[in-house]
């Protein structure tokens, strides 16, 4: 109740500020509700019965005071807790150089920074396996806390986007009976800071094409008090991403190469990838196909700690845009995970407000 009151006060304060302030101030949000059902074999048996669920309510606001900017994003989860999703202060030196300090979406690939909790923006209901959130058993830190230098520049070759970041390295913590990644919001549990880079280009000769590479390097420590599966793992993740949208078609894909090195210097290489095709029949109707694959080394202590399994998923869906602010998506998925296979059916109504 107290948390709901906090959010209410925040909304009122922000609205008053928006009305009274002469600055460029915006307050927005996302919400979604869904229904899911799976057949025998699914790893979450609750969905065999068919379940309605409200997703998360995403509230975010930004204010620009000349060159200084503030962005804050709060998530009210379905369990009622409030999570500070993003919070950063930024300074714009120029379009070529912007500084952001705080908690931000890890710039790894395109998907993670493009959609995140904005279900209305996301072409599909679920995120691809490779970019699942930490609390869903994600294999990379979707969030980072640190410093991010980024920029873009239009050159004769095309639009260039680039950036480097350094942040607290993630840790593995307990979450119920599972272990999940955590982005170390307030302190780092080892001396190795995570570093990352990203670069992308939309060539001038083909502006509807965007290709990019990114990398993230971190030392990850299993911080669970009882029975840690591993001590330290030095992780290097490289991502190649592409997005091509000629006319009504949109094709995108991302490939993740993951190298983990254990404390005994043993190396494990795994990979994950996904490809998505959407085709806008009209502005309202958009069918899509998503193929998702993750192949991990079974004896890798990092994936053992996170209980990650090999998975292949094919999703066929149809999106109906009620307006530019709201859409309904329906999906059928064929899932194969760790020698089990099953089907899933899902509907989602998403809204941007």
């Amino acid at each position: 109740m107290r948390r709901i009151l906090c959010v209410f006060i925040l909304v009122i304060t922000a609205s008053v500020l928006a009305i009274s302030s002469g600055h460029a101030f915006e307050f927005k949000g996302f919400a979604d509700v869904s229904f899911s059902k799976s057949t025998e074999g699914a790893d979450d048996i609750r969905y065999r019965n068919g379940s309605f669920a409200f997703g998360s309510v995403d509230l975010y606001f930004a204010e620009s005071l000349e060159d200084v900017e503030l962005l804050s994003e709060l998530i009210v989860t379905s369990s009622g807790s409030i999570v500070a999703e993003r919070l950063y202060l930024g300074y714009t030196f120029s379009d070529e150089l912007k500084l952001r300090v705080g908690r931000f979406h890890t710039p790894l690939g395109f998907w993670n920074t493009s959609y995140h909790h904005g279900r209305q923006l996301q072409p599909t209901i679920l995120r691809p396996e490779a970019v699942r959130f930490e609390f869903e058993g994600g294999i990379f830190p979707a969030h980072s806390v640190g410093v991010w230098l980024t920029g873009r520049s239009r050159t004769t070759a095309g639009m260039l986007e680039y950036g480097v970041e350094t942040s607290n390295g993630p840790k593995i913590v307990s979450s119920g009976s599972n272990k999940v990644l955590n982005s170390n919001n307030t302190s780092d549990n080892n001396i190795g800071k995570a570093v990352g880079f990203h670069a992308a280009i939309s060539p001038a000769v083909m502006e509807n094409l965007k290709v990019g590479v990114s990398g993230h390097f971190a030392r990850v420590k299993d911080d669970t008090a009882t029975a840690p599966v591993m001590k330290d793992v030095d992780q290097a993740v490289y991502v190649a991403a592409v997005m091509y949208s000629p006319g009504n078609v949109n094709i995108s894909g991302e490939y993740f190469a993951i190298g983990n090195k254990s404390e005994s210097d043993k190396k494990y290489n795994s990979n994950a990838y996904f490809g998505l095709i959407t085709y806008a029949l009209t502005e309202k109707w958009v069918p899509y196909l998503l193929y998702d694959n993750m192949s991990i080394k079974k004896d890798d202590p990092y994936f053992k700690a996170l209980k990650t399994k090999d998975v292949t998923k094919t999703t066929l869906g149809l999106r109906y845009n009620i307006s530019y602010r709201s859409s309904v998506k329906g999906e059928v998925r064929a899932v194969e995970k760790d020698n089990n296979d099953w089907n899933e059916f899902a509907l989602q109504w998403a809204l941007a407000f």
Binding site: A24, K28, Y60, A62, R154, E283, S323, Y324, A352
Partner: protein, 150 residues
């Protein structure tokens, strides 16, 4: 008979030509205007697009502040002809852009005269009005004129 044919062709040509002249005479033009501190005397259509998509936010140290019209007719024409998008597509783009990067969308101004006045008084401000709404020295810099049809 040949005279009738010739007359028919001549009348048709005259009608077509006068139609074209009429259309071009009444084709409306949008003016891209800016505060006088904008560092360049002119601007390209692709730079206008970058500014209104939030891709370009500063020019030679001047922070650019794009402004939209509240009037739906001119806004629709600007978005369709200059931005190459639909009104809904433009709005959806800004929801995404604001969420991803925290870049705030162009502020909206009520009337053309209000927009001209605000731009003349705001450093780095950029906007658009119908050319015929600019009278004498409006205190703004005209960077580009774009014909947007009838």
């Amino acid at each position: 008979m040949q005279y009738v044919k010739f007359s028919f062709v001549a009348v048709l040509t005259t009608l077509l030509l006068s139609g074209t002249i009429y259309a071009s005479a009444y084709a409306r033009e949008l003016a891209i205007i800016a505060n006088k501190d904008y560092p360049f005397p002119s601007i390209s259509a692709s730079t206008v697009k970058d500014i209104y998509l939030g891709e370009k936010t500063s020019e030679r140290g001047v922070k650019i502040k794009p402004m939209d019209q509240r009037d739906e007719a001119i806004k629709k024409r600007f978005i369709e002809k200059v931005m190459g998008s639909t009104v809904d597509g433009y709005k959806a783009y800004w929801i995404k852009k604001f969420f991803q990067e925290g870049v705030t969308p162009p502020t909206a101004k009520g009337t053309p005269s209000e927009m001209i006045q605000t731009i003349s008084q705001t450093s780095g401000a950029v906007g658009y009005v119908w050319v015929d709404e600019l009278k004498g020295d409006s205190g703004v810099k005209v960077l580009l004129k774009i014909e947007v049809g009838n």
